[in-house]
Amino acid sequence: MGHKTEEQLLQIDYAPPKRDWTDPSVDFEARKGTWSYPGKAKNLQYMGFPNPRDWSPTDADWQLPEGWEKIIHDGFKERLEKYRSLKVFMDICVRCGACADKCHFYIGSGDPKNMPVLRAELLRSIYRQDFTTTGKLLGALGGSRKLTPEVLKEWFYYFFQCTECRRCSVFCPYGIDTAEITMLARELLNLVGLNINWVMEPVANCHRTGNHLGIEPHTFKDNIDFLMDELADITGVRCEPSINRKGAEILFVIPSADYFADPGIYTFMGYMLLFKYLDLDITLSAYASEGGNFGLFTSHDTIKKLNYKVYHEAKRLGVKWLIGGECGHMWRVLHQYMNTMNGPVDFLEVPKSPITGTVFDNARSAKIIHICEFTADLIKNGKLKLDPSRNDHRRVTFHDSCNPARAMGLFEEPRYVLKAACNHFFEMPENTIREQTFCCAGGAGLGNDENMEMRLRGGLPRGSAVRYVRDKHGVNTLSCVCAIDRATLSGLCEYWAPEVGVSGVHELLGNALVMPGENERPTDLRGTPIAAREGADHA
C-alpha cells in the first residue's frame, strides 16, 4: 500500500458527508489501508471458531453461514441478558455528542462513523429494530435499521476501527463505554466468522505455545540466554533468570514482545537487572510466557481461556504471588477480569515485598501487582542506588497507555520511577495524558501493516502531542508501560514526530540502576554512548 504523505493525511474533512449515516455501505476497495485482513481459516479451526474459510473484505460475498441473521439475533439477545453494560448503553445514550471528538480515529479521519456515538449507533439501530417495540413500530423514523449483510460489513469495518481505548467513556455523562460495545460487537461478528488475522493468529499461537508469537519453550530459553549475554557485554553483570522454577516466591508474567523484539528487549534487560540487584526469588515461565491476551479483542470466553495459564502455572510452581510486567491490555485483563474469571486464588498469599516489607493490600485478593507498583515502593524506601545522570542523554516524556490509565488508574507509579531514574522529564499537554491519554491507534489487534493509513490517522493526536514536547523541550524519548505501544509508537513517532524513540520505564530504570560489580557502562542498555549523545544534544 502506498503511504500517503503527511499533507495528504492532514487533509481531514470534518464536514459530514451528504450520505446519511444509516446507509451502511463501505467501499473496501477504495479504503485499502484502513482495514485489517480477515482471520485465516487455520486459526479459526484451531480455536474451534465458527465459519472458518479464506475470504477478503473486498469480496462481494462474505460467505456468511446459513441462518446468520438468527445467529446474530440470538447472540445479541443472549448478551443483553448477560451484560447489563450492553443493555444500559443501548438504552440511555442521549446523542449529546460529548464523546464525538474524543476518539483519535475521528480526529484523524473525520469519518463521522468514527465518532463513538455513531459507532455505537451502528449496533443500536439494530437493537431498536430487533429488541424494542417503539423501534419496531417506528422503523427508520425511530432510528432503526434492518440487519443486512451490508450492515455486517459495516460493523466489521468500524468495530475493527476502534482500539477499545475507553477515552470516549471518560467524557460521557453516563459513562457509556464504546470499548465495551465494540468488545460485544466483535463477539457477535465472531459468531459468524468475521474477525481479523492480526487478532486470530496471536490467539491461536497463545493457546498452543503460551504466547502470541508462537515461541516454543526451547526458543524462549535461547532468546533469554542471548539477551543475557548482550546484557553482560554492556554492563559486565551476568543475570541468570530462572525459568519454570518450582518453589520460587514470585512468578513474573510479561508480554512476549519483551523477550523477542526491539525495543521491548531493553525493558526486559531492565527487569532482569532489577531482580539481580535485589536477588529476588522470582521465576519466569515458558508456559505462562505471555501476559498479553488477544482474547480481549475476541470474546470474553477467549479471555478466560487464554488467561487460564497464569494462575494455573502459579499453582503448579507453588509460588506465593505474582508480578506483572509492562503491558497495557494485559493489565486490563489482570486488573479487571482475571480475579473474576480465573479466581479465586486461595492458594496464593497477599503480595508482600521481601525487600521493603510493604504489603500490597490493593492486590490482596488477586495476588498480583504491577512492576511499577513494586519498583516505586523500592525507590520510596531507598532500596535502589540510582544514577539518573546515566539517562541524561534522554529527554523523557511519558505516554499513559489506555488500559493502565482508564481501566486501572496507574498514573503516578511509573512517573515516580521515571523521575527517580531520569533528570529530564517533561509532561505532554494536559488533555493528552493520564485519563485523557490518546491511544497509539494500534491496540485491539489493529497494529498491522495493512491498516497503516488508519493507524497513522488515529495516531495523529498522540503524535502531535509528542511533537509538541519534542519541539518545546527537546524530548527524544517517549516512555510507556505497554508492549503494543513500544511496537506501534515507534512507527508512529517516525511519522509524526521524527527523532523520538520509544522506551519502557524499566529500560530507563535499568540504565540508572548502579549494579554491584558492574563495569564502567559508557553506554546505555541499547549500546548508545551516554557521553556522545549528551554532546550531540548540546551541539
Binding site: 447489563r84 453494560s85 460529548a98 498452543r208 516454543e216 518450582k246 481461556k305 488467561n307 479465586p344
Partner: protein, 330 residues
C-alpha cells in the same frame, strides 16, 4: 427532515389538545383520562425498564478510571474519580448526577495548520445541560403548589427565591427563563453544529420541542393569556384525590399544556429520557475499582479451562528436555 418530523409530531399533539379543549367530550379525556393514563404508563414503564436492566447480570467490574488508583500509601489517589470502595462509588455517582462531573471535562479538539491539535475546554454543554435540568427540577417542584392546600413552606420558599428579582406581574420566575434558555441552547446546538445535525434523530428533537411546548404554554398561561388558577387547582387536587371534575372555563391553552405534559410522561419510558434512571445502573460509573482487592462474582461464570500445563508439556517435551528445562514428567 428529521427536525420537521419532530416539530410536526408536537404540533399535532398540541393541535389535538387545542381543538379538543373546546369540546366538552374531549375535555374530559384531556383533563382526566389522559393524565391518569400517562402517569400509569410512566410509572409502570420506568419500573419495567429498571427491572429489565436490573435483571441483566453485571459479570465484570469495569469502572472507567478517571484518576489515580489506590495503591501505595505514599501516592495520593482520587477517591471520587477512581473510587476504591462502594462509598467512593456512591460519591462518584452523586457527583455525576448532581454536577454532571463527566460533562464538565468536555473539551473541543481543533486541528491547526501543520497537524497541530489543540484542545480547549468547552463547558457550554455542561452549563446548558445543568441549566436545563435544574430549571426543570425547580419548575417541577413549583408545580407542587397546585396539588396541595395549604402550600408547604419549602415550596413557598423556593418560589420566593425563584421570583427573587420581582420582575413582572405576576412575578416572572428565573427558572422559567432558565428552562427556555437551556432548552433553546440544547436545540440550537443540534441545529447549528453540522456534526450534531448529522447524528441527531427525530427522537432527539422531539423531546426538545415537546418540552419547549410545555414551557411556552406554561409561561403563556402565567403572563399572557391568564387562566383561572382556582379552577386549575381544583382539577389538580381532584386528580390527586381520585375524584376529578372537568374544570370550567380554563381555556384551550391549558389543555394544550396538560396534554403535552401527559405526552411527555407517556413517552418517557420508551425514549432516551430513561437516562434519568439508567445512569445509576451504568457499570463504568457505579462500581469501585478494586477487583484486585475484592473479587467480583460473575453469576454466569462459564467453566472454561484453557490449554493445561500437562498438555503443553506433552507437546514440547523433547525440545524442553534437550534445552535442559525442568519437566514435570521425565
Amino acid at each position: 427532515m428529521r427536525i420537521v418530523l419532530a416539530l410536526v409530531a408536537v404540533g399535532v399533539l398540541a393541535g389535538i389538545a387545542w381543538a379538543g379543549g373546546q369540546s366538552p367530550a374531549m375535555q374530559a379525556f384531556l383533563a382526566i383520562v389522559a393524565p391518569y393514563v400517562a402517569i400509569a404508563v410512566f410509572v409502570v414503564g420506568i419500573g419495567a425498564r429498571v427491572i429489565g436492566w436490573a435483571r441483566s447480570a453485571v459479570p465484570f467490574r469495569i469502572p472507567t478510571t478517571c484518576g489515580q488508583e489506590r495503591s501505595l500509601s505514599f501516592i495520593r489517589f482520587s477517591p471520587l474519580d477512581n473510587p476504591s470502595s462502594s462509598l467512593g462509588a456512591v460519591g462518584r455517582m452523586a457527583l455525576e448526577v448532581l454536577t454532571f462531573r463527566s460533562l464538565f471535562r468536555n473539551t473541543r479538539a481543533e486541528l491547526k495548520p501543520g497537524g497541530r491539535l489543540v484542545y480547549s475546554s468547552d463547558k457550554w454543554l455542561w452549563a446548558g445541560a445543568l441549566l436545563f435540568h435544574y430549571s426543570f427540577l425547580a419548575v417541577f417542584l413549583r408545580h407542587y403548589r397546585f396539588f396541595v392546600e395549604p402550600v408547604p413552606k419549602v415550596i413557598a420558599v423556593l418560589q420566593g427565591l425563584d421570583g427573587f428579582f420581582q420582575v413582572g406581574v405576576p412575578v416572572f420566575f428565573l427558572t422559567s427563563f432558565g428552562l427556555i434558555a437551556g432548552l433553546g441552547y440544547l436545540l440550537a446546538r443540534r441545529l447549528v453544529d453540522a456534526r450534531m445535525r448529522y447524528l441527531s434523530l427525530p427522537a432527539d428533537y422531539f423531546p426538545l420541542f415537546l418540552l419547549l411546548g410545555i414551557a411556552l404554554t406554561g409561561i403563556g398561561m402565567r403572563h399572557l393569556w391568564k387562566v383561572d388558577i382556582v379552577r386549575v387547582k381544583e382539577l389538580a387536587i381532584g386528580l390527586v384525590n381520585f375524584h376529578p371534575a372537568v374544570p370550567q372555563g380554563v381555556g384551550p391553552l391549558f389543555y394544550v399544556h396538560l396534554f403535552l405534559v401527559s405526552a411527555l410522561l407517556a413517552y418517557f419510558p420508551f425514549s432516551k429520557l430513561v437516562h434519568m434512571a439508567g445512569v445509576f445502573l451504568s457499570p463504568t460509573r457505579n462500581l469501585a475499582n478494586n477487583n484486585r482487592a475484592v473479587r467480583h462474582l460473575n453469576p454466569w461464570n462459564p467453566p472454561i479451562v484453557g490449554h493445561t500445563y500437562a498438555e503443553w508439556e506433552e507437546e514440547f517435551h523433547d525440545k524442553m528436555k534437550a534445552a535442559g528445562l525442568p519437566l514435570d514428567r521425565e
